[in-house]
């Protein structure tokens, strides 16, 4: 086969052997997202078995796995430079000074999502002049009640309006308020071609935790949302507020290990303060004080959960922490783990607009900046597609341009 040395394979086009590429390059490219186990895909196992792959099929495969095909054409040395660059960007953004999450919520952090958000954040920061976000660090050194006031005033949140809504609408209300104050909230989406829909990827995403990436002008919060349908809405609200307290305290106490498992720094007290502020915002102490003389039953817990938009578990844990209920009452009231309602049959609802999916994944601020770049022509179409879809997707982009009025 054209003098092929071991450890190499041919790229064939028009029945001709065109380019000799390195097996290790293929493996290393596929290992950019090891959690997705791309190397096990039939196309690549066949290629390793046969010693060649078809260029035309490679292009199709790369569309599915959302990796630029050109990466497979790099020499080992050049690929290493690219991988080092990606790794450096990931480490820079996800060191202890820049990254935080809720402890115990999802151990895995999808590298693909990390890379997408880094790319988006870098694009915005490198191409637009932003002003510092005054909420960053605004909760430092303040009492819980002061934190509540700062939070509600800064984001202009009307607690009565928030509580009057159904939980899902209350979540949307919070996101709307927070995003208008230059906090970018990116949410997991499985529609609109925004993330790849390949085998086993959904399981990876399902375990991806919510997290926040520091920036003094435009902090980026990621919430798994649709990627993890097992998460109760009340828990999503709690996670969102918890991550905002990290921004407000300017306290980023997680880091990614080499395996990209998120680990907490060994620091005492930080986590308790964040939970304290979060519950002070969502479930004020005045409200729990009213229950000190009462006998709290499961029905009360359900009512409090519905009123304050947190899970029944969070209600019970908070009551216990504040000494409203005893250990025995706590154990009795603690509800079984949340079981999501199974969807009955195929959902035949209208498919969401592509712009809706993109806006949800990118976050409102990043979405606006990307669109500004597209409109002004400063952002080339291929770059724009990589920012919003993570790969070239001409049909989706055509619809997207139409939907944003281009």
């Amino acid at each position: 086969m054209g003098g092929l040395e071991p450890g190499n394979m041919w790229v064939k086009v028009d029945h001709k052997f065109a380019v000799k590429i390195h097996d290790d390059v293929i493996r290393d490219v596929l290992d950019i997202y090891p959690e997705e186990e791309l190397e096990k895909r039939r196309f690549f196992t066949d290629a390793f078995d046969n010693g060649y792959l078809s260029y035309v099929e490679l292009l199709k495969e790369c569309e599915s796995i959302q990796i630029p095909w050109q990466m497979f054409f790099l020499t080992p040395g050049n690929l290493k430079k690219q991988l080092d660059h990606i790794s450096k960007e990931r480490k820079f953004k996800f060191t202890a000074k820049f990254f935080s999450k809720r402890k115990g919520v999802g151990d895995i952090t999808s590298k693909r999502i990390i890379d997408r958000l880094i790319r988006l954040q870098n694009y915005v920061l490198q191409n637009f002049t932003l002003t510092p976000n005054n909420f960053c660090g605004a909760l430092k050194g303040k009492s819980y009640s002061e934190c509540v006031n700062v939070f509600l005033n800064y984001f202009e949140i009307d607690v009565f309006e928030f509580r009057s809504k159904k939980t899902d609408k209350a979540f949307d209300y919070l996101i709307g308020k927070i995003e208008t104050k230059s906090v970018n909230i990116s949410r997991g989406v499985l529609k609109g071609g925004v993330l790849p829909e390949v085998k086993n990827v959904n399981d990876v995403y399902k375990n991806t935790s919510g997290f926040v990436v520091r920036n003094e002008c435009l902090p980026f919060i990621f919430l798994p949302d649709d990627l993890n349908p097992d998460e109760a809405m009340g828990r999503r609200i709690y996670t969102l507020i918890y991550l905002l307290t990290c921004v407000g305290l300017d306290d980023y106490d997680f880091y990614l290990e080499n395996s990209f498992k998120a680990s907490a720094l060994k620091k005492k007290g930080g986590e308790a303060i964040k939970h304290g502020i979060t519950t002070a915002i969502l479930f004020p102490e005045e409200e729990t004080d009213l229950l000190r003389e009462a006998v709290v039953g499961a029905e009360d817990v359900a009512k409090l959960s519905a009123k304050f938009k947190i899970t029944p578990t969070a209600v019970v844990v908070t009551l216990k922490r504040r000494g409203v209920i005893t250990q025995e009452e706590y154990e009795e009231l603690l509800p079984p783990p949340f079981k999501p309602q199974k969807k009955t049959g195929e959902q035949h609802g209208q498919r969401p607009l592509i712009t809706t999916a993109v806006k949800k994944f990118c976050g409102s601020s990043a979405f606006s900046y990307v669109n500004a770049g597209i409109r002004s022509g400063s952002l080339k179409s291929i770059q724009a597609q990589y920012l919003i879809f993570g790969h070239v997707h001409k049909n989706q982009y055509k619809k997207y341009c139409f939907q944003i009025g281009l």
Binding site: V13, A18, N78
Partner: protein, 146 residues
């Protein structure tokens, strides 16, 4: 033979020009052009053709050159996904000169004439001149495109 880069394509679309003579582009430029057509909401003339799908064009040789150029120059970014149009055009000019040198005639219009690349990108210009040892002309006189 006349080749176009993405800046020339934008020029054509912005001015709604319908070239009468034939021009060739690479797959990377074609991909950018397809999206630009959407943005400008108009198609370019059928006289602008993706060269790799023309009969007689040896895509295997082109891909081999693409591999070499991709690995030779650092001014392309996988993070921003930029610079690949340049890689493809340099690879194409090298491929066309190889066809000429080997006397493997391509049944394409203008193949017997000089190769002329339209671009206003100075980096691309210098790469083409250096890789082809000045055997390919590069022009930013877009007004000549007609």
């Amino acid at each position: 033979m006349k080749l176009l880069d993405s800046s020339a394509i934008s020029y054509i679309l912005e001015r709604n020009i319908s070239p009468k003579s034939e021009y060739f582009i690479t797959p990377d430029i074609a991909q950018e052009m397809e999206v630009a057509e959407l943005v400008y909401n108009r198609g370019v003339s059928k006289n602008i053709k993706n060269i790799t799908v023309q009969s007689g064009f040896d895509e295997a040789v082109y891909l081999n050159n693409y591999y070499s150029v991709l690995n030779k120059y650092s001014k392309r970014s996988f993070f921003n996904m930029s610079g690949f149009g340049d890689v493809s055009l340099v690879a194409l000019t090298i491929t066309l000169l190889q066809h000429e040198a080997q006397n493997t005639r391509l049944p394409l219009p203008g193949f017997d004439n000089d190769i002329l690349v339209y671009t206003n990108d100075d980096h691309l210009k210098s790469k083409i001149i250096s890789e082809t040892k000045n055997m390919v002309k590069v022009s930013n006189n877009f007004y000549e495109i007609q």
